[in-house]
């Protein structure tokens, strides 16, 4: 299909699925005529019309609730939450409703919706346009949480998410939207939801990340290579379900593990990865399982010195890698 950035890959995936199956529809704030604030749905309104590309009232709980209701009778809504920071009013509909409907009805009903939300910081978005929210949702059984970090993955995973019989929260990092360009495969390109991807093989330590942090870890690993330290970088891609086998296999080879995320340290998803490693690869560990994450403060500051301090960066990650490698 040619070279694409992640934003274009997302748009292509939605377009293809809408063409393939007329039950698929798009809804959210400003997704219609404006094509979304990031342009993810640009052109879809003109192409598919207002019955399939719906500009909704400004109401996140309503957006998810309506998507659930439409799905219960066979439609396949892709609901966009304009910024992940504004998903919180929909928490109840996602956590208590979408995620639990199959269980609560003993399998009589299911909610095959996709909730897309741009997330993440480093974009001068301040407290309300930078949040990482994956930990809240990865905690919830019944939900799948996908966080692609490359255009091709975004394409294949989003198509799979749309066809998935269960609710999927699909988190797209705002800074990754236009960060890298790559070839996206033609045809019915579907990527399984679940498996992690080893982005870079290494022998000295294993580094686990998702979203923007995958790219920062790769940069840091590159730097470490020039210092003679071989770092493996694993892009988890999906937090729920979590690819435990790939994580453990990597740590068993390298003996050292690090998790990097942009969310606050305490209770972030890195804790789950670290606990999994500590329990199941304990005998292989040659050092502590290290987390590099944002400090435990309530929000990403807007000003540059503080935003830089809040965000894990390639430099900070490289420094943590050095220390762990030397342990």
């Amino acid at each position: 299909m040619g070279e694409m950035r992640m934003i274009e890959a997302v748009r292509a995936a939605i377009t293809e699925e809408m063409e393939r199956d007329e039950r698929v529809l798009v809804m959210g704030e400003d997704v219609g005529r404006k094509g979304g604030v990031f342009g993810a749905t640009d052109g879809l309104y003109a192409r598919f019309g207002e019955s399939r590309v719906l500009d909704t009232p400004l109401a996140e709980s309503g957006i998810v609730g309506i998507a659930i209701g439409a799905a219960l009778n066979g439609l396949i809504p892709i609901a966009e939450i304009q910024f992940a920071d504004f998903i919180h009013p929909a928490f109840d509909q996602i956590v208590s409703e979408a995620a639990r409907t199959r269980y609560r009805t003993n399998g009589d009903y299911s909610v095959p919706i996709v909730i897309r939300a741009p997330f993440g910081g480093g974009v001068h978005g301040g407290l309300y346009h930078s949040q990482s929210i994956e930990a809240f949702y990865a905690h919830v059984p019944g939900l799948k949480v996908v966080v692609p970090s490359t255009p091709s993955d975004a394409h294949g995973l989003l198509k799979a998410a749309i066809r998935d019989p269960d609710p999927v929260l699909f988190l797209e990092h705002k800074k990754v939207y236009r960060l890298v360009t790559e070839e996206v495969p033609d045809g019915d390109h579907l990527l399984a939801i679940g498996p992690a991807a080893v982005r870079r093989e290494g022998t000295k330590l294993s580094c686990f990340a998702w979203g923007l942090m995958t790219h920062y870890c790769l940069q840091a690993a590159q730097e470490l290579e020039s210092e003679g330290v071989s770092v493996e970088v694993v892009d988890l891609r999906t937090l729920a379900p979590l690819d435990r086998d790939t994580i453990l296999e990597s740590v068993r080879r390298t003996g050292k593990a690090m998790v990097v995320h942009e969310d606050n340290l305490t209770g972030g998803f890195g804790a789950e990865v670290a606990a999994t490693i500590a329990h199941h690869a304990f005998d292989s560990l040659d050092g502590p399982v290290v987390r590099v994450a944002a400090p435990d403060v309530p929000g990403m500051p807007f000003n540059t010195p503080q935003e830089d301090f809040f965000m894990p960066s390639p430099d900070k990650i490289a420094e943590a890698m050095r220390q762990l490698a030397a342990y």
Binding site: E29, D30, R33, D55, F86, L265, V297, Q306, F309
Partner: protein
């Protein structure tokens, strides 16, 4: 039965209020409260708001200011409403487009400018200024404003709350919960809804099937008033009435001000993708500032010379505030740990110490 538990009558919504027409003449039969001196003051504030917005947009285009949502076209709402409340005793709970209303209410312009520049210390709201912080999470301020007003009543304080929301914000669940609770508690509050016809690119028609936002008040058992939101005299009048109602125990009001967002949603938005040029041009012909200038010119109180002089003076005032904010020191990285809790817990102390030792996050 006490007035709190008495079932409230659903009063009919008043017809759209209008005092100063777009052509600068007074509507037939209207008896405005604003006298000329006061109207001049309102004009000065409206011009200040617009000139500030224009300056910020220019700075943003040069990379010297962050993303910004101007109030251009909505100055009559912003100023007419603010002039109807008392900065000494009343509270203001903004969304984000009412910047100059908060300044009128006592928040120094350099303080709110510093906030936009991310200067933490200089952005602190001074002691005694009864303004809550800019709200980004749409409509989340509404239940809080109701709680604030309810608390004022419980503590028998002679104060009211004015809070702002947009046409878009009226669709959030918090709008319903905030207004409903205000009706039930008969809280002394004025909900000021600026219907600028847009929520980013989403038309006002998408937000509600009612023909008039003021109608929504009936469902909550209190007064709804529709007003020409480009008419500062009418906005002032209806807000004064709502404030008096709240202060005298008459409960909440919803003011639906019909206006138009005469610029973009914010500096990243391009309305030509979704806005009909005709609508914009039509709105321009109803400019809230020009009509006041026309009216005052008719009274011999306004001319090109005075306009030039005021423009110059206001620009200077605005620039002084910008300079103060720009020159204020940038925060130190370790200040991210301030104000997480009153008493920092061990993990915050530890993480801060790690930073000071140079180890970072």
């Amino acid at each position: 039965m006490s007035p709190r538990t008495a079932p409230s009558k659903n009063r009919a919504v008043q017809a759209r209020r209008s005092v100063l027409l777009a052509d600068g003449t007074i509507a037939h039969g209207a008896r405005p409260r604003m006298e000329e001196e006061f109207l001049l003051e309102a004009l000065r504030w409206m011009m200040k708001s617009r000139l500030y917005d224009q300056k910020v947009i220019a700075l943003q285009r040069q990379g010297l200011f962050g993303v910004y949502s101007p109030g251009i076209g909505q100055e009559a709402c912003i100023i007419g409403s603010a002039m109807a409340v008392d900065p000494v005793r009343d509270w203001m709970v903004p969304q984000y487009r009412e910047l100059m209303a908060t300044v009128h209410h006592g928040l120094p312009l350099e303080v709110i400018t510093a906030q936009y520049l991310g200067k933490i210390g200089p952005a602190r709201i001074p002691e005694g200024v009864k303004v809550l912080p800019t709200q980004v999470s749409i409509a989340a301020q509404l239940p809080q404003a109701t709680g604030l007003a309810w608390g004022l009543r419980l503590r028998r304080q002679d104060s009211v709350v004015i809070t702002y929301v947009g046409d878009g914000g009226s669709s959030e669940g918090d709008f319903h919960e905030g207004l409903n609770l205000a009706g039930v508690t008969r809280a002394p509050i004025v909900f000021f809804l600026s219907n600028n016809q847009w929520a980013i690119s989403t038309s006002r028609k998408v937000q509600t099937a009612t023909r008039n936002f003021a109608l929504r008040a009936a469902g909550y058992g209190f007064e709804g008033v529709e007003v020409d939101g480009n008419d500062v005299m009418a906005v002032y009048d209806v807000t004064c009435e709502a404030v008096e109602r709240a202060r005298s125990g008459g409960g909440p009001s919803l003011i639906a001000a019909e206006t138009y967002r005469m610029s973009f949603h914010n500096t990243t938005d391009n309305p030509s993708r979704y806005q009909d040029q005709k609508d914009y041009d039509e709105a321009r012909s109803r400019d809230p500032i020009e009509r006041v200038q026309k009216y005052l010119a008719g009274l011999g109180l306004w001319d090109a010379k005075r306009e030039a002089q005021w423009t110059e003076e206001i620009r200077e005032e605005n620039e002084r505030a910008m300079k103060m904010a720009t020159e204020a020191p940038a925060p130190r990285p370790e200040d991210v740990f301030a104000n997480v809790y009153e008493e920092p817990p061990p993990r915050v102390i530890r993480q801060r110490a790690d930073l000071v030792d140079g180890q970072g996050g």
